[in-house]
Structure formats: C-alpha cells, structure tokens
C-alpha cells in the first residue's frame, strides 16, 4: 500500500511540472503560516534577548541572555513548572483512562450505543471558553451546582475557588470533563479496526479477558493512541483557556497558574515583554524535546518520513 503511493508520487515527479504546481498549491498556506507563525517566532527570539518592557517599549535594545537567567532562577518558574507537569499528567491519565474505558464498552453489542456516543461527545462539542465559564459558575461557593450537590448529599461545602488547591482541582475537573471525549473517539476508531478473528483465536487458546486486553487490544490500539496522546500532552500543557477562565486569571492571588497562563500575565498585565518572550522559548523547548523523544521512541510518525 505504502510503496504504491510512493510510486504514484515518483510518476508525477517525472512530469517535471509537478514541483511548480506543488509550490503553487502550498504557497498560500505557507505564506500565511510564515506571517502569523514564523515571523512572530523569529521576532520572539529577538525580544527574548532584549530589555523590552513597558518603559522600554519602543527604545528597547539587546541585552544578551539575561532574561533566560531571570526565568530559570525565578522560583515561580520552577513552582509553576511543577504544577504544569502535575496538571498535564493527571489530565492525561483521566482522559486516556476514561476515554479508552468508555470506548471498550461502546465497542460491545449494547442497546442505545449511538445515543450514549452522541451524548458523550457533547463536552467536546461545546466551545471551550463556554465550558470554562460555565464550570466557574458551577464552582461558585454559594450558588454553584457543585456545592449545592455536595451539601445535599454529603453535608459539607468545599471552598473551591478561594484556595490554591481547591482552584487547581476545579480547573482539573473542568478540563477532564472537556478532554475525555476526544480520547474516547480516537480509541473507538482504533478498536473498530481490530479484527474480531484475533479475539476468537485467543478464545480458542483459552486466553482470559486480561490477556486479550494486554496482548491484543493494547498493542493494536497503540499506533492510534500514541499520536493522540502526544497531541493531548501538548494541548494540555499549553491549555490557557481553562486555567485562566476558571481561576479568573490566576486567583487566588496568582497561585492558580500553569506556565502559559503565568507567562501571559507577565506579558499582558505586567508588560515584561523580554522576560515573557524568554519564558515562552523555554516552554517551547520543553515541549519540543518531550515530543520528539516520545514520537521517536514510539516511531509514530513513520509515514511523515516516507
């Protein structure tokens, strides 16, 4: 299959016109990407070595790697890095855990499967900022649905948004809610492509449910889940919306942040442009190293190199 596709390409190549057409087709997209992504990226690198801030907005000059030292020696950075890693790991565990588990159930012969599936992707379909603002309302200590429920059924209330870890947990619950359907849909697609015969053969050999899951489902689900998990890690690590909107910009007193929301605040509330630019570069470096190691080790993008 793969070699057939490659043959098609070489056929087009030999016509000679191929290259010109290919550039014609790709250039509009690449021009926009350069304008909105590549140019700002380069600009960001330059600013990260400069003293740009509110009092030096136009008359900034380069001052070397000072900003990078500032970020890395700032205990805030290490604290929010720790929180961000915690945030990403907990989210992903729940997203993948719930997602795969529900997909396994939905892959069985059950009545009302379509209805379940339709209702379960609802959290993914709702615009993210609405999810965040709505959950913020539900975590309201006096009138929010969550505390009304806990009071009615458990007899106590939790000060969600006014304590550091309460607000963090509130953000987590919100993000787990909106993230599991994506993993569920991906896993469902993967499960449906596993042929029944494999399980039937395993049954004949007397394999139990766990063996079948471990030796058939997991390895065959992996090629589908690895890219999804990589993307999930990147999106969650950089998920500004949920943290910012649920905690209303880091409340209480700038403790509820992950790295992106903190760097946003440094840039657009405190106008420490140089510092924020260096900070952004460091976030990018972390994700870049993680993704490449992860993808390389699992060889998930083989078709990119083909």
């Amino acid at each position: 299959m793969k070699s057939a596709i490659r043959n098609q390409k070489s056929k087009i190549d030999r016509s000679g016109k191929g290259n010109r057409l290919a550039y014609l087709y790709t250039s509009p997209a690449l021009i926009i990407m350069s304008l909105v992504v590549l140019y700002p990226f380069v600009y960001n690198v330059v600013i990260s070595f400069s003293n740009m801030n509110l009092s030096h907005f136009l008359d900034w000059r380069l001052k070397g790697p000072q900003n990078y030292y500032d970020v890395l020696s700032d205990h805030q950075f290490w604290y929010f890095l720790y929180k961000t890693v915690l945030w990403t790991v907990i989210n992903l565990v729940f997203h993948v855990g719930i997602g795969v588990y529900l997909a396994l159930l939905l892959n069985k012969d059950l009545k009302g499967k379509t209805i379940y599936r339709t209702l379960l992707i609802l959290p993914w379909a709702v615009p993210q900022y609405i999810t965040a603002l709505t959950w913020r309302g539900m975590f309201n200590s006096e009138y929010g649905a969550i505390n009304l429920l806990t009071e009615q059924f458990l007899g106590f209330q939790i000060p969600w948004l006014s304590t550091e870890w309460g607000a963090f947990t509130a953000c987590l619950i919100t993000n787990i809610w909106l993230g599991f359907p994506f993993m569920m849909i991906i896993a469902l697609g993967g499960l449906q492509s596993i042929p029944n015969e494999l399980y039937e053969a395993a049954d004949m050999d007397g394999a139990n449910t766990w063996h079948k899951f471990r030796n058939i489902t997991v390895p065959l689900l992996k090629p589908v889940m690895v890219p999804a998990i990589t993307l999930g890690v990147i999106w969650t690590f950089n998920n500004f919306n949920v943290v910012w909107l649920v905690s209303n910009g880091g409340e209480p007193s700038d403790t509820t942040h992950i790295l992106v929301s903190w760097v946003y605040k440094s840039a657009f509330t405190y106008f420490r442009m140089g510092y924020a630019a260096a900070f952004s570069m460091i976030i990018f470096a972390i994700l870049f190293v993680f993704s490449w190691r992860f993808i390389k080790r699992t060889k998930a993008t083989e078709n990119v190199y083909a």
Binding site: I5, Q8, I12, L21, A22, Y23, Y25, P28, L30, I32, M33, L35, V36, Y39, F41, Y43, N44, I47, L102, K108, D109, L110, T118, L120, I121, L122, P123, A125, V126, P127, Q128, Y129, I130, L133, T134, W135, G137, M138, L148, W177, L188, G189, S193, N196, E200, D203, P223, V226, P227, L231, N238, W244, L259, A267, M273, A277, F284, A300, N303, V304
Partner: protein, 281 residues
Amino acid sequence: MPKKPRDLTFKGKIGAHIVLVLFTLFAIYPVLRVISISLRPGDRLLTKSLAIIPANASLASYYKLFFEEPFLRWMMNSLVISFAVTVVGVALAATAGYAFSRYQFRGRNFSLIGLITTQMFPVTMLLLPLFIMLIKLGLYDSYFGLIIAYSATALPFTVWQMKGYYDTIPYSLEEAAMIDGASPFYAFYRIVLPLALPALAITALFSFMAAWSEYLVAAVLLQNRSLFTLPLGLKLFQSNMEVAWGLYSAGAVIVSIPVVVIFILLSRWLISGLTLGSVKG
C-alpha cells in the same frame, strides 16, 4: 461454543449500562444546568434550587439578551470573522493538503513537520510579537489582524487532515482524466475535490470553530467594544462586579447550539478523518 467477541454476559451488560449512564450524566449535567439557569425568571436568578426545569420558567433572559444588550452586534461580528476564516481556511487547506499528498517536492517533509511543531508554541509566543506587530502596522483593534491570525491557527490540523484524506483517493482517477487530456488542475478541481467533500466539511467546521470559539487572541487584539466577538461579550457578563448569570447562560446556549449540532452531525466523519492518518501507516 465460543461466544462472539463483542457480546457481553447479562451481568456485564447491566454493568456496562450503569457505567455509561453515569458518565453520560457527568457529560450532560453542566449543559442542562446552563439551560436551566437561562430559563429562570429575572427575580429568581440566585436560588439554591437544583431543579432542571425552574419554577415559573421564562424566556426573559433571552429577551433581554437580544433587545437590551449588544448581543446581536457581537453575533454579527463573530459571524463575519468566522465566515471569512472558513473561506480562507478551506481554500488554503484543500490546496496545500493536495500538494502534500500528491507531490514530492523540496521542503515537503520539512513543512509537514514544521506544521506539527507550531502546535507546541505556547500561545503567548506568537501573541506577543503579533500584538507588537499589529500595533506598529496600525492594524491593532481591527478585524483584519484577527482573521489572518485565526486562519493560521486551524491550518496545521486541517492541512494534515486533508492530506490524510487525499491519500486514500487513488491516483489512477486523476491519471485517467489526464490521459483524456485534462490539465492537472482540472483533475484536482473537478475530480478529486468533489470526492474529498467529507474532509472538506470537517476542515470547514474546524476553521469555523477556531474563530467562533476563540477568546484569547481576540482579548488581546480587540479593545473597541463595538468590535467585540461573542466570546469577549459573554465574558463581559461574568467580569462585572455582579455576574449576570441569566444573560450569560442564555448567550451560552445560543452560541453553543449551532456548533454542537453540526459537530454531532459530522461526528461520524470526524472519527474516520482523525484515525485514518495513523491507522494507515
């Protein structure tokens, strides 16, 4: 007798239904709650009631939203921007994805990987330079900057998605057309593109959603309240000293319904579109 792999025992079925019902409740409860608050009569917004259908349900919040607040103006702003982004996004992803699928050219692999890499940029990394750039160009506080920025945000995903879909369409179709004398462009435009309609629909949906649901970039690039998009407007209801829960909830319901409906209608294609790329390899 070996049972079929997708069958469950009776007990297993009951258990599966219980788990699914619980998670479904978890998934729909916040949505029901918003709808419920949006239907509360004006004097009962702050009640401790958990009823899904409130006592004396009324459409007062919706009336107020449309006739006493600039909601229609925000909606027009969002519609204009989102449609512009959809048109640009579909045109760019349809062509670029085709080239990545069919041609081998210098810079191809680099561009494909570069597109993924952009997903790793923290949003501030682009926002800060974009903010400074647009101020210097005098495009701050205008739609133009916003439309360009939004068009680019969905592109990495939609280009990859289009490429994956084109990969499944056999090249022999174009070959046959070209033997009959069609130009390569005609073969693409009249033969391949109509076959890629499902993928185009998903690309359109994602481009539209990227603009319709975006809060952060708009918050940085727009200051003039008459230019506000829906996300900025709805946030206003929550950022005043006293949160306007009724207005917020009514707005949230109206903003979400169209995207949720389209999303669910397209979900079947969505699944195959997302998994195709990885399964095929």
